[in-house]
């Protein structure tokens, strides 16, 4: 009891209080912080780099609708016990087992100008498709989006599977006897009973797109070219540890926590209302 509380207060609760306080200060992390009121947030409001970072986060949030729909289909196919379902169930999660850093470095390696992907394209006669994939945001952002979807796909499948296994199988059988197709069963019988899991899938994937992108960006593009692929966390990291603007970085952190919470609450509200 006590050790858990001490650890949580020391390394989660206290930093949280500290970040909220320091968001209103000018601070380099060493000298005492100076109270500046809402100054940081005013600067942030007009900061083009913060806007670009947020816009990139929003682009990665396009993964959310994909992650809501596709893993649902895949989970249902596994749920219906197609041949080899056990094997598929355990292999589908594999991408989430690799460290994000490993995935990032492999992606960056494969997509180099003279890397394996371009070489493979050349050798099958698709040389005209060769591209400097990470050379501009117009290709690197979609690439990172694909990697993001691929990594978390299996986790969402397992979440859906967990939800499906809790649904009374007689419901499915009844629908089947009435002559419903598998798609019909999935959307009319299964999905309405998955509200809690849908909530989790929505919220978890949104939080990922806004607050767990650092390792991908750091290893795949390092924010580049220029600042084109910055995301908010990467920007916090830059401001805090390259520019020593700890106060400003804290303000970005607080803003991001608020954004994530608001989106999360909003999504849950919508789902709750649809039900009624």
């Amino acid at each position: 009891m006590v050790p858990a509380l001490v650890l949580v207060v020391m390394f989660v609760g206290y930093p949280f209080a500290s970040i909220v306080y320091h968001a209103f200060t000018r601070w380099d992390g060493i000298a005492p912080a100076q109270w500046v009121g809402f100054h940081n947030f005013e600067v942030l409001w007009h900061d083009p780099l913060f806007r670009r970072s947020l816009r990139n986060n929003a682009i990665f949030a396009l993964s959310v609708p994909i992650q809501v729909v596709l893993p649902l289909l895949v989970a249902y196919v596994i749920h219906r016990r197609v041949p080899g379902w056990r094997f598929f169930r355990s292999t589908i999660f594999l991408p989430a087992v690799y460290a994000t850093v490993v995935i990032g470095i492999i992606t960056a390696t494969v997509l180099q100008l003279n890397g394996p992907l371009n070489q493979a394209l050349g050798s099958v006669g698709l040389g005209w498709l060769k591209h400097e994939w990470l050379g501009s945001a117009s290709t690197s952002l979609p690439v990172i989006l694909v990697v993001l979807v691929w990594t978390n796909f299996g986790y969402n499948v397992l979440l859906y599977l967990a939800g499906m296994s809790a649904i009374d199988p007689t419901l499915e059988e009844a629908a089947r006897i009435d002559g419903a197709s598998w798609l019909r069963i999935l959307f009319s019988v299964i999905t309405p009973n998955l509200r809690r899991v849908l909530e989790i899938v929505l919220v978890v994937n949104t939080i990922t797109a806004f607050a767990f992108m650092f390792a991908y960006i750091y290893t795949i593009t390092n924010g580049g070219p220029g600042t084109d692929t910055y995301v908010s966390e990467f920007y916090i990291y830059q401001q805090a540890f390259t520019n020593q603007n700890m106060g400003y970085a804290a303000a970005i952190g607080v803003t991001l926590v608020l954004i994530v919470l608001v989106i999360g609450i909003f999504q849950i509200r919508i789902l709750t209302r649809e039900r009624e």
């Binding site: 009891m1 050790p3 858990a4 509380l5 949580v8 020391m10 390394f11 989660v12 609760g13 206290y14 930093p15 500290s18 970040i19 992390g29 895949v74 196919v77 596994i78 749920h79 219906r80 197609v82 041949p83 080899g84 094997f87 598929f88 169930r89 292999t91 999660f93 594999l94 087992v97 690799y98 460290a99 994000t100 850093v101 490993v102 470095i105 492999i106 003279n114 394996p116 070489q119 691929w150 979440l159 967990a162 809790a166 199988p169 499915e172 089947r176 899991v197 989790i200 607050a211 650092f214 390792a215 290893t219 966390e233 916090i236 990291y237 805090a240 700890m246 804290a250 952190g253 999360g264």
Partner: protein, 288 residues
Amino acid sequence: MTTVETVTPVPQRRRRLRMRHPWPFVGGLALLCIAGVLPLLFMAATAFRTQADWDESRIGLPTTFSFAAFARAWNDANIGTYFRNSAIVTSSTVALTVVCATLAGYGFSKLRWRLRGATYLFVLAWIAIPPLLLMVPIYVEMVQLGLLDTYGAVIFLYTALNLPFNVYLMTAFFRSVPDELIESARVDGAGIHRIFFRILVPLSKPALATLVIFNILWAWNEFLFALLMLQSDSVKTLTVGVLQLQGRFTTDYPALMAGLLITSLPVIVAYLVFQRHLVRGIVAGAVK
């Protein structure tokens, strides 16, 4: 005789509904799974190449087969040290988490005390806060505590950041243990410690396995805080250490991939061993 047989309830295994034409779906699933195994194949195909072979061709099977890249990574690029550091950090995190989360789960489920509900909510609330956003104050706090650049920094941090979820799992598990069991032990004169160690801990092996696999994956693969906290080579973990293979040997891709393979294999093995429990943990988080 015959009537008795018809009355005896036949233990019926409920058969799940099956697809009428499963093979197109199996094909699709197989493609997804190939995509999941591809990075592993690429790492292996590249790590067993020689540098000359890589310069020649970057795709397909290696035409040469050598362990030299592993030796370069392990010895020259310090991967051996990083591996040891990752093992120390991960095992300590798992041990500390198991101790803290089971004790707290016991306190929140089976003991009665004032403010229990409020304290439980206080601990759970942090699940909603993405820890990466707290990097600034956590870094400063570690400097002040003198923990920067030590194993302690990441061990305490990893444990604390994941405790809200782990405490939730253990509390949910202990709550499913019937109170009568504890009541009868108390009548027999067992104290709260005896009840905890003699009854609850032995019962909670499956829940503990879930905790262990979750925390192995989390601590072994964590990157941002390791990057911030661990600065000298003697304490760096693999996720941070492998990056140096990228910088220092600009073109030694076989060694880089050998390093990544060494980073990945332990967690893949852990996943294969514990996957049943991981799924159970996800079920507990999603359904309850």
